[in-house]
Symmetry: C2
Subunit: 211 residues, 2 copies
């Protein structure tokens, strides 16, 4: 893997984007796809698709296209989405519950192995046969013991920074933050913030521009 050299960040993001259409194609039994078709499914330029892939090797057949199954495997390998990642989630309000129950995470290899909340009435709640809500105060030891690699924060904003610090203390290396606060980025951790309203703001701006 990796033809070495610098891989543009934008390329990685797009490759993650290609995954879903490829899965859909595979489900539909389509075995070969051209850069042109894949590109149009993702609203990008065909040359872009080819170039993105070319950073990692030559996976297509000239005159034909790409084998869907191969390409899916390759892209998953690139993204290290070909193994299971162990995730912990803190905050089991509506959003947290929605994420835990979202079967897509598991399908892509992201497995929730621990769940934490500070509300007494949520502690002990059985989310799956092997996933029970634990008190937030158990986060550090549990995350260490269970070798959690990804921390997902869906607490309310007032708790988010503390939770982030706890994840960092427990050696968690990456955090996905859904709470409405800008996290102080711990030195040791990758943090990605998700803010839905950003997407709506974007749409609103572009809608307004059109008139």
């Amino acid at each position: 893997m990796v033809k070495d050299n610098k891989i543009p960040d934008a390329t990685i993001e797009r490759i993650a984007l290609y995954l879903r259409p490829l899965e859909n194609l595979l489900d539909k039994g389509i075995t070969v796809i051209s850069s042109e078709k894949l590109a149009s499914m993702c609203s990008v330029n065909p040359a872009q698709v080819r170039k993105d892939l070319s950073y990692f090797g030559e996976f297509g057949v000239r005159g034909v296209g790409y084998d869907v199954r191969d390409l899916l495997q390759v892209t998953k390998k690139i993204l290290v989405s070909d193994r299971e990642w162990r995730a912990g989630i803190a905050g089991l309000g509506n959003m947290g519950m929605a994420l835990v129950r979202h079967e897509n995470f598991l399908k892509r290899g992201y497995r929730f192995v621990a769940a934490f909340d500070s509300e007494p009435q949520r502690i002990g709640l059985i989310l799956r046969n092997d996933l029970v809500v634990q008190p937030l105060s158990d986060l550090v030891p549990t995350a260490e013991r269970m070798k959690i690699e990804l921390g997902i924060i869906t607490t309310d904003p007032s708790q988010a920074q503390a939770v982030s610090d706890m994840f960092a203390e427990a050696g968690v290396k990456a955090i996905l933050n859904f709470s409405a606060i800008q996290l102080r980025q711990p030195e040791c951790c990758l943090v990605e913030n998700i803010d839905f309203t950003v997407h709506l703001d974007n749409l609103a701006y572009h809608l307004n521009k059109e008139d």
Copy 2:
């Protein structure tokens, strides 16, 4: 507003990003902020912040910084986030419920004025005193009558395309799609797809690269 000229797309996305830290600052009673501080809160370059804002005018004071309240107002105006937008949501599973109950949308002016689902047991469900779940088959007339501007799709993937088409038919101009499918982009509509696993894939890639 708008010094005219071409505004980079990336600038719009970042301005949407500045909103949240600015709100937090305002809540904390901080009245002045430098591009340096705001930049570090958003993990961008200070010159970037200044340049982004400069596309729209001169809002800062040399030697001092930006007035937080003013800047918040200005950025909201730029994003057209200074008025209410009328949103409809289809699909009230976990994710849909989480979004409806997420108070941040309303705080930013995105108001759910209608909700739709195909499950009989969810129809009639009262989400707020003025928001009751309606059958999916009522989507087109209701969306038209209520002048819905933004459509949010949280149905399962098998229904998403049909829902998208209905929104388009009803004259909805922008769609935010949370379902795990690539929507055929209707000519008349802006569509933004949200896929959480893309963020996790990104983190996974970067985590792996570090060793």
